[in-house]
């Protein structure tokens, strides 16, 4: 009898974390690489350089019934930057720009979310890059959510924002005006935990 009670208590206890996860916590699908962080920066004002960070991880919460509680945390391995040109990547990671030796990770932690419509909103948060933290706003869109073919539940978003490199103490004064800011584009799919 006592044994049965203990088992029941254990079973109930083990269900508790599951019940909390119902609030819709997601882990970004980094493993399956359904997630991208890209940037686009002008080259001399004539064309664009496209680049991405290949290694990052993060979690987010999203509940369509309660959008005000939405949040996201990301940690990016700055050294995983690639622009399809090894020497340029080395230069971008050097002390001339990102100084990845000293600042190997960039982080984003949301501080608020404001819904602007069905499946749309503006995510506010602290972005730390090159050792400097700024509050940024990123308009985001819910691209879709639902069950996946492998027994999980997924939700995916995209968002983009403009970053002025000077705000992060990255000196672009030797470069033309057009190269002093970049567009950051993020899209990711989360698997509900």
């Amino acid at each position: 009898m006592l044994k049965k009670t203990a088992i029941a208590a254990l079973a109930a206890g083990s269900l508790l974390p599951l019940a909390q996860a119902q609030a819709a916590d997601y882990a970004i699908d980094s493993e399956g690489q359904h997630a991208f962080i890209q940037f686009k920066i002008s080259h001399l004002g004539y064309s664009y350089i496209l680049g991405s960070f290949e290694s990052f991880d993060g979690t987010f919460s999203y509940d369509s019934e309660d959008t005000a509680s939405a949040s996201a945390q990301l940690e990016v391995d700055v050294t995983s930057l690639t622009t399809n040109h090894a020497e340029r990547d080395k230069h971008i990671l050097s002390g001339d720009f990102l100084n990845a030796d000293e600042y190997p990770t960039a982080t984003f932690t949301s501080t608020g979310f404001e819904s602007t419509g069905e499946g749309e909103g503006v995510l506010t948060g602290d972005l730390t890059l090159h050792g400097v933290t700024n509050t940024i706003e990123m308009p985001v869109t819910l691209l879709g959510e639902g069950e996946d073919p492998w027994g999980g539940y997924r939700a995916g978003f995209e968002g983009s924002t403009e970053l002025a490199l000077g705000d992060y103490d990255i000196d672009m004064s030797k470069f033309p005006e057009a190269m002093r800011s970049l567009e950051l584009y993020v899209t990711f799919e989360g698997i509900r935990q």
């Binding site: 090894a86 020497e87 990547d89 990845a100």
Partner: protein, 193 residues
């Protein structure tokens, strides 16, 4: 004339020695200068193009030089037992450093899997790419091994001057004049007469 003898260096070894010496000092100066170039300098793309191309050619020359050194007799070292031992280790260190500088340079430019275009003549393909932070880490090895190589080369030159001016040995002369490698043979022949 082309071959080494226990008395001195043959013409091929002399040509290999001085051509790599000139090229390595030139590449060091060029590399130092070009990494500080302004983005708007007309040499910004051209200087690295020459540095990479000449670097690859020097790598091929050095591989040939090492093969020739191993295949040929080495002229007897001069000086005390300690000097001879130091010279032997010093020469080994010079070869190791040359290889370290050349291979690390190759690993920088081929880090994303693209080959190196050699002065418009041919492309040396990438063999090892996409190691973690390959370009940046190879860059650190490239710089420090180059600095140590230049310092050790200066010591190598000082030692040659010491043999020449202080000890009055033909150490330096036999790296300039291939005829010294032939003298033993003539001496032996004339003695025979």
């Amino acid at each position: 004339m082309w071959r080494n003898s226990p008395r001195g260096w043959g013409l091929l070894a002399i040509v290999l020695h001085w051509s790599s010496a000139v090229a390595i000092f030139g590449l060091f100066a060029l590399g130092w200068w070009m990494t500080g170039l302004d983005y708007y300098s007309e040499w910004y793309h051209l200087a690295p193009w020459w540095h990479r191309g000449i670097g690859v050619l020097v790598m091929l020359v050095i591989l040939g030089r090492i093969a020739w050194r191993l295949a040929q007799p080495t002229p007897a070292a001069h000086g005390s037992r300690l000097e001879r031992r130091a010279a032997s280790w010093g020469h080994l260190a010079l070869y190791v450093l040359m290889l370290a500088v050349l291979i690390s340079g190759y690993l920088i430019s081929t880090a994303d899997g693209k080959g190196i275009e050699v002065l418009g003549m041919f492309t040396l393909p990438a063999v090892i790419s996409d190691l973690p932070e390959q370009a940046s880490r190879a860059g650190v090895v490239h710089w420090y091994s180059a600095v140590v190589l230049i310092i050790l080369s200066a010591g190598h030159a000082l030692a040659a001057f010491k043999h020449h001016y202080v000890d009055r040995q033909d150490t330096l002369r036999r790296m300039l004049d291939p005829r010294l490698s032939q003298q033993g043979r003539h001496a032996a022949e004339s003695k025979g007469r």
